[in-house]
Amino acid sequence: MRNLVKTIFAFAIAGVLFTSCAKAPEVEITNAKAAIEAVKAVEAERYVPAEFKALQDSLNVALLEVENQNAKFALFRSYKKATATLASVNTLSEQVKVNAATRKEEVKNQAQQSLAEVTTLVAEVKELLAAAPKGKEGKEALEAIQGDVVLVESFLAEVSTLINNGDYLTAVDKVKAAGEKAASLKTELEEAIAKKKGRK
């Protein structure tokens, strides 16, 4: 009898000791929150919004799970699930950071490539302007086109500034607009030159 009582007490104490070790994963929470902040710093919200949202959802699920466990009687608490979710937030955040950086790089490259293409186009327009007949015929028209080229170039200078400031999406809008205008100027000049050649 005495042995039975002793055994029960021993199990009870062991159980209490064992379960009372279940502490809220404070360190993991802090780390996960820091990971989210790091992801924010690379503009994941802007460049990979869906992934960023999933990450925040995971953190929230983990935090609620922590509170769910906190609400339980101390002996019954288990933070394993929350800890696992928090660990996945950390792992996932690294992936999201990489994806955001990759997407950002893609947009940056797109902006830079478009800028290079439009710069080449403007150079072609300038070459056509230089090759255009210098006589009195159409002198005013050429001057007007020259004025437009100057405006397109100032637009491209703004694009460079935007790229340097990391505002790639706005830079793409601007460079596309400049590209359309440069293309129309090129067509205008080519048509005029072709017309002139046709008359000869």
Partner: protein, 390 residues
């Protein structure tokens, strides 16, 4: 003796004092077990009946806020989403606070109320975002159409006119800003569209207004032009002869015989063809009633064939002298040698002030014309309203 033995048998342990010690122990253990059972039962009942943390609504709230943010609530409804987040944080803090209490003393009503407030704010924010985005998208689309029409209108009506450099610069700037706005609109970055589009609208409106004002003052002479045209046609009708009318705005040269139009040709002018010729080298084509003074062909002209007119006439001379006196023009001479000649068909206004037709057309015209044939050059035969609808 028997009794003694019986007594001894009946109370064998009492003799050693063992039974008297074990019975109370059992009783105590039994009572303890009962108490333990009661405690556990009470604990279990209280635990079962204790309020549960409202985790599902908190999770739902997180999703609601996330959805609002995904739809750019931070840009379109910053106040509302901020309030929702404050309530959400409050709810989480209240939840933590309640969880720290003994389970049967917990009360999650505050948490629930805060969640409800946050949900209401986040839902309102989402609704506002949806409505604002929809209305912004519609209004921007309308604005884009308006600006696009203005640009097209300017392109068709004014871009080819000899306007000042500022008007052309404003027009090109407007077009660039419009294109940029359109790109931003296409990727639904509505908040970026507004400013650029407003600026594009301002610039194109300025260009259109400047061009219209310029033309309006030019078209003040419309009654005079119409009178000259009428007189020229009337002269042709009365004399049965050939008369020529050049409409600068239409870039057309009309040939009348017996008061009736018998031919029309495309014409090219000087680059500054809006306004009459005022002095030598202004690259403007004169306006007035003239006549052919000489027919030139072969080595007499570099433009295939030419019809020299009597520019400057008396009115031109009077105007020139008056302008020189009041200092509105430089004293460079009034200019001369204005002709209708060949060499045209370039598609631009390129002459020094003459009217150029194609060689084929000057050939056709050549046979109708002789020295003295009236040539009337007017700014336009149609009103500005007929031309640009304003």
């Amino acid at each position: 003796m028997k009794i003694k033995v019986n007594n001894l048998k009946s109370y064998p342990t009492s003799h050693y004092g063992k039974t008297t010690a074990r019975s109370p122990m059992k009783k105590i253990l039994f009572i303890l077990l009962i108490l333990l059972f009661l405690t556990i039962s009470t604990f279990a009942t209280l635990y079962y009946l204790a309020p549960k943390p409202p985790l599902s609504i908190l999770e739902q709230l997180h999703r609601t806020i996330a959805t609002a943010k995904e739809q750019e609530a931070e840009k379109y409804a910053p106040g509302l989403i901020k309030e929702a987040e404050i309530f959400f944080e409050g709810a989480k803090e209240a939840l933590q606070k309640e969880n720290e209490k003994t389970f049967f003393l917990r009360d999650y009503n505050t948490v629930i109320q805060l969640v409800e407030s946050a949900t209401a704010k986040a839902t309102e924010a989402t609704k506002k975002v949806t409505e604002d985005k929809q209305s912004l998208s519609e209004s921007l689309q309308k604005k884009l159409i308006v600006v696009s029409h203005k640009i097209d209108h300017f392109d068709e009506t004014y871009a080819h006119l000899p306007l000042n450099k500022k008007a052309r610069k404003d027009f090109t700037n407007a077009k660039l800003k419009y294109l940029e706005s359109k790109k931003a609109y296409e990727r639904k970055a509505y908040l970026l569209v507004g400013n650029n589009l407003d600026e594009a609208n301002k610039l194109i409106s300025k260009s259109v207004d400047a061009a219209h004002d310029h033309l309006s003052s030019y078209f003040n002479d419309l009654p005079l032009w119409k009178r000259w045209h009428q007189e020229t046609v009337e002269w042709s009708r009365k004399n049965g002869g050939t008369a020529i009318v050049v409409d600068k705005f239409a870039h057309m040269c009309y040939v009348y015989k017996g008061g009736k139009e018998i031919k029309r040709f495309n014409a090219e002018l000087g680059p500054n063809w809006i306004g009459t010729k005022k002095y030598r080298g202004d690259k403007a084509t004169p306006e007035g009633k003239y006549h052919v003074t000489k027919k030139k062909a072969g080595s007499q002209t570099i433009y295939y064939k030419a019809l020299l007119i009597n520019y400057p006439n008396e009115e031109d001379k009077i105007r020139y002298n008056k302008n020189v006196r009041n200092g509105s023009i430089p004293k460079r001479g009034i200019g001369n040698l204005i002709e209708l000649h060949g060499g045209g068909g370039k598609g631009i206004n390129w002459t020094e002030g003459c009217v150029a037709l194609t060689n084929e057309d000057i050939d056709k015209l050549w046979n109708y014309v002789s020295t003295g044939t009236p040539i009337t050059i007017v700014g336009s035969l149609r009103s500005l309203h007929e031309i640009n609808g304003r």
